[in-house]
Assembly symmetry: C2
Homo-oligomer: 213 residues x 2
């Protein structure tokens, strides 16, 4: 069985998205700064069907997000389309006809919906019976490969709080967002114990890999 992993960019003051997230501003005000380290990388551009790009000390992290990945879990907020029922002309995700996931994606939601099959191997499945059910379905889809929690903050928090995460990679960006969605909120009193496994200093970001103790 593969691992359950989260790889997420976080501001120095602990936010994984800025304030006032919206359809126009999915990462909130200032939130796009969190991903400035990854967007220029060749590994990122390739996964989005683009050519060229940089290779630097962040490359193994960007490649690691993609390597050995068999399925993705994400929260409804990350999939987008606002809260509430899906409606007659439902939101298809932020990523167009050929999303960069290239495998099954399980979306945590309270609102049932038929699977959405797009190009490039990405099919979104909408899971309404909780994080453990989503994990079970994602593991079944992934086989020997890993399951990645794509985000956002709430989905990552829930798997962290439940003690289900095997690995957490925090990409710490030297920006102070001041408000927004914190990764390490709402963890309760029985907080998970982590050990530091690896540290990588790269241009404009520090990547730290943690494992569950």
């Amino acid at each position: 069985m593969g691992k359950l992993k989260v790889s997420i960019s976080m501001s120095l003051d602990g936010y994984v998205a800025g304030p006032e997230q919206s359809e126009q501003n999915p990462l909130g005000i200032g939130g796009e700064q969190l991903h400035e380290w990854v967007v220029p990388l060749r590994a990122f551009r390739e996964s989005h069907g683009d050519e060229g790009g940089e290779v630097n000390a962040s490359t193994p992290i960007a490649e690691g997000i993609l390597a050995n990945k068999g399925a993705v879990i994400m929260g409804r907020n990350m999939f987008g389309g606002g809260p509430g029922p899906w409606g007659d002309d439902p939101w298809q995700g932020w990523w167009g006809d050929d999303p960069p996931f290239h495998n099954p994606v399980f979306v945590l939601t309270h609102h049932p919906r038929e699977p959405l099959e797009l190009h490039g191997g990405t099919t979104f499945y909408f899971v309404t019976d909780g994080i453990e059910s989503a994990l079970e379905q994602a593991r079944a889809a992934a086989g020997d490969r890993d399951v990645s929690v794509g985000g956002g903050a709430s989905a990552a928090q829930q798997y962290l709080a439940a003690g289900l995460l095997d690995e957490l990679v925090v990409s710490l960006v030297p920006v102070l967002l001041g408000s927004g969605a914190r990764l390490f909120d709402n963890l309760g009193d029985d907080r998970p114990r982590l050990q530091q496994v690896e540290t990588i200093g790269a241009p404009g970001v520090t990547h730290i890999r943690y494992a569950r103790v």
Copy 2:
């Protein structure tokens, strides 16, 4: 003129002290975990008059906290003795007769008090007219050397928010404290801009050095 520096240990969830700080528990519940990386080091033990200890990848950080330091600024909460007037038998600090500072220490307080001269070159001066006055006095005492903001969270925040810090070293510890005093709170809307200068992975901690942009 030297630099104004902060070197501070922070939990992965952003706290520089745990909840319920008290005379018995100056770093709050769980807060002592923040300093587990530094206490075994030879550089730390030497500064406290002890022999032996480890040398590892954290050593340059521990030595850097001490090197070229001409004066220290700290908040009243870090100096201790509770809030309010000093009284007839005033608190002498947490550190005994021979504190590990070995230079002038300027304590930010609302309550005037005569200087307190202890052994080993440490004299505490009590500054009641604000952070800029304390900085001016500390710079005068330090000469060409650096001024270090020793803590706690509030003192570090105030110098950060005022844009006066030249350098910030965050020692990020893989522990989740859940509550306590956050370093990056109360910074207002005009938050300082930082650039990452150096990353060091060491046993049980990641040190990241930031400079003001």
